[in-house]
Every structure is written in structure tokens, then in C-alpha cells.
Amino acid sequence: MPIMSIRKILSFIRKDAIINMSYRTIFLMSFVRIISSTLIFFFMAKLFRKPEYFPFVLIGIAFTSYLYTSLGTFSSRFRDEQAAGTLEAMLVAPTKTKDIFIGIGAWDYLFTTFRVFIYILLGVLFFGVNLNNANILAAILILCLSIICFSCMGISAAGLVLIFKRMNPVTWIIGGFTGLVGGVYFPVEILPIWIRGISYILPLTYSLKGLRGALLYGNSIRELMPEILLLCIFIIVLFPLSTLIFKKAMKKTKIDGSLVHY
């Protein structure tokens, strides 16, 4: 990525950091939410006397936030910028739409990474999650592939928001299914066979399986190759598709003059 693009993205991060931290209560409340959801699952694991459940679900809820960030950030932030009138000012500047796009989502990804770190830190320090055998390199590789894959879905969602304004069908469909069948709260293997089919077409299933394998069981990259390959296939299919959807949506909104309407 050219240095100019990186500097522009850093400007977006700086701007969003100032804006978000100016809403102090909301900023602090997001940490309270992390603690409360961690506690809920910790005590659930205790209640059913299944100590191995807590690390499983902790990885699930922590890393699924990347999926929700990807699905939500581009579409909702694009809409926010449309509504605030700032999108027009950005699009008139000699900056590539790609850089504006990455910039708009950058802060949310950074903040999500920070939240995931807090989740894991809480789990390790206070709730006995053991990451001694973790294969960090493999986890980072799977996380990067997952983020690219989820971002592609987010880009498609943003394209649809540009056209439909309020509706965000991709977020509804994928967001709704992942909680149930993506392996966030329980292994997909316990689902009836006909629902399990859906989980196999969701990248989140392979992402979480890979991350759990790397972080909880210390699986090597070779052992995680099936998940890595499947995530790569998702990227190969989703990346051109999402780019096409977004480009078409941009063109359509430029033709009907609704690019800055909300």
C-alpha cells in the first residue's frame, strides 16, 4: 500500500479516535459490556460444570466481533457520513474511494482488536483460560484471513446500503445466522444435519474452528491447513464479488444522484 494511502488512513483513525473518545460514557460502557458478557458465560460454564466450555465460548464471542464489525462498520459508517454530509466533502477530494473506504472502517477494526485483547486478557488473568500451548503465528494468520473475508461481506453490505439507504440485507441475513449456526456459542457438530449444512457455507465456522485450534490446542499451520485453504477460497470468491457490488452501487448512486442522499 502506498505511503500516501497509509497516512490518509492514519488521519481517519486520529479523527475517529478524537470523536469516539469525546463520548466518554459510551466509550466506557463498551468495556462494561465486555466484562458482563465474559462473566455471564463464565458462570454458565460453572453452572453446567463444563469448565472447557468457557474458553470455547470466549474465543467465539471475542473473535465474532470482527465479523459484526466488518458487517456493520462499512455500511453504518458510510451511512453516518452520508447523513452528516461529510461523505460529499470526502468524495470531492483527490482521494481514492478505496482509501476512504479503508479509512472509514479503520478505527472500528482497531477498537475491535483492542476489545478482543481485553476479552482474552480477562479470560487468562481472571477466569483460568490456558493459552500456554497457543500457536500465535497460526492464530494471526487465520485472523488476518478471517478479517479479509469478513471485510468482503462488509463491502457488499455497504454497497447495498448505498442503494437501499436504510436496509442492510447482508447484515440481517449473515448476522442473524452466525449466532445460531456459526459455532460461536456451541460446536456446529451438535446441530441437526440439515442446519449444519448452512454452517459449512459460513466463513465464520472455519475461522472460529481455526482460531480455537491455534489458541486453545496449539495446532500447527499444517494441521490447520483445511481451515486456511477454505478461508482462502472464500476470499477468492468474495473479494471480486464484493468489489463489483460496491462499484456498481457507487455508479448507480452517481447516476441517480443519490450518493449523498440518506
Partner: protein
């Protein structure tokens, strides 16, 4: 004098046409799913040439197509037919290059981040104009001085309407644009602030910095005071274009004043 070439114009518009197709309602989709809704013609056969370093005014009533034309020039809307060139560059084919010549000022107050200060806002937008670090800081101070904002550390939400408008101009100047597009620039200003802005545009930007200014308005006195050339647009069609004297002399009536001239061309 010979005919001017594309490169001699800051902005050249050739046979521009814009039709907006409205979205069909649910019942319309059910009734005729494959029939496209009839389009609304918002610009028709627009031909204009704006010379470099001039102040050009597009005058017309509300809904005449002024804002649509500005948005086509600055690449936010695609034309249905025709071409727009900015410094000889086709805005549709070379959007990226064309943007480098343009600065846009809208009458809208909602185009900044309300939780950031004026200075923070400009520093952010400076980065989008490829100005970073110390250069950005210097440039922001420079444009703030040009538009005379002396309290840039205040949050944008605390600015008055006039200050917001000035900040909008400051942002448009960040990239040293050769062409400044202004959509109803004095819309939210009181008469004194509006007069100050007009003076600033004429003396500082046009005379000193040699910036070409293309602005829209529906105020006759503004066009008279500021523009070297005026075009009157109504219902998407350019009715007349020329200097104020040329426009006045074209009216076939006695005792012509600005209002009469405007009404004559708008209704022609």
C-alpha cells in the same frame, strides 16, 4: 478574437443532459414490473465555457438545476449525455485528475465533524488532499488566516453560520484549487458577512490568487456585484449567457432593471 480551445477554459460543458429516474413505488412495481418510470429532465443542452481566472455566476430560481450542474462538475453525479472538462480534463473519464483542480464549497452546514474543532477538521481534510504533518499544519494555518477564523480551536458545533461558511471555504482552499465551485455561498450569511465574503472572493481569491470561481445563486444583486459573466438557467436549460451588459442589452423592453432582465430570460 479566435475561438477558445478546450484548454483555454477552466470549465467547459458540452451538450450536457441529465435525467433522473425516480424510484418506483411498491404498487408500481407490482403493476408494471418491467416498465421504467418516466425520467425527470433536470438539465438539457447545457453548453458553457468558463474562462480561466474569471468569476462566473449561474443564476436561476430554486430547482432550476444549479446544484445538479455543480455536482456533475465535481464528479458526484454522472451526466446522462454530454461532456464536462475541467482544465481540459474529462471529469467522467479522468475523475481522479479532475478532482485535483477543484475545490467545492456548499451552502450546507452539515459537512464537517461537529465534535472536532475547526482546525482538527481542516487537518483531517488536508490529509485527503495529500498534505500531511508539518506541511498540513502550515497549510491549515494559512487558509485559516485567509478566511480570517481566529478561534480555530473551538468545536465546529460552536461556530456561527458565517464561521461555518468560512471554514467551508478554508477547506476548499486546502488543495490550492485552480477552480472553486460554490453552491449558494452566501445562503446562510447575514448581509454584512455576505458582503465581506463577496469582497474576499473578488479581491483575494480571484484577483490575488487567480482562482476561477464558479458560483450559483438566486440573488440578482450577488450576481451583479461579483460575476464577470452570468448564465441564467431555468428548468434545466441555459436561457442566456454573457456579461451583465450583454444580458441587459438583450432585453427588448424599456427601462430595464435587474429584476426585469431576470424575469425576461427566466420566462423566455
Amino acid at each position: 478574437m479566435g475561438k477558445l480551445l478546450t484548454m483555454d477554459y477552466a470549465i467547459e460543458i458540452k451538450n450536457l443532459k441529465k435525467i433522473f429516474f425516480e424510484r418506483k413505488g411498491f404498487t408500481e412495481i407490482l403493476r408494471c414490473p418491467f416498465k421504467r418510470k418516466e425520467g425527470k429532465l433536470v438539465l438539457y443542452n447545457v453548453n458553457l465555457g468558463i474562462e480561466k481566472g474569471s468569476i462566473f455566476c449561474l443564476l436561476g430560481p430554486n430547482g432550476a438545476g444549479k446544484t445538479t450542474l455543480i455536482k456533475i462538475i465535481c464528479t458526484l453525479i454522472l451526466p446522462t449525455e454530454g461532456k464536462v472538462f475541467v482544465n481540459g480534463v474529462d471529469v467522467e473519464k479522468e475523475e481522479w485528475r479532475a478532482k485535483g483542480f477543484i475545490g467545492l464549497v456548499t451552502g450546507e452546514e452539515r459537512s464537517f465533524f461537529w465534535r472536532l474543532s475547526g482546525r482538527e477538521n481542516l487537518l483531517f481534510f488536508a490529509s485527503l488532499y495529500n498534505i500531511h504533518g508539518k506541511k498540513a499544519s502550515k497549510k491549515v494555518s494559512e487558509v485559516l488566516e485567509i478566511v480570517r477564523i481566529d478561534d480555530p480551536k473551538k468545536r465546529y458545533q460552536e461556530y456561527s453560520g458565517g464561521m461555518k461558511q468560512r471554514l467551508g471555504i478554508a477547506r476548499a482552499l486546502l488543495g490550492n484549487p485552480e477552480i472553486l465551485l460554490m453552491d449558494e455561498p452566501t445562503k446562510s450569511l447575514d448581509p454584512i458577512a455576505a458582503e465581506e465574503l463577496r469582497k474576499f472572493l473578488k479581491e483575494k481569491l480571484c484577483r490575488e490568487l487567480k482562482t476561477t470561481i464558479f458560483f450559483t445563486t438566486h440573488q440578482l444583486n450577488e450576481a451583479e456585484k461579483l460575476a464577470s459573466k452570468i448564465a441564467i438557467i431555468n428548468k434545466g436549460e441555459i436561457k442566456v449567457s454573457g456579461t451583465l451588459d450583454e444580458l441587459m442589452s438583450g432585453v427588448k423592453q424599456d427601462n430595464v432593471d435587474l429584476d426585469k432582465m431576470y424575469a425576461y430570460y427566466v420566462n423566455s
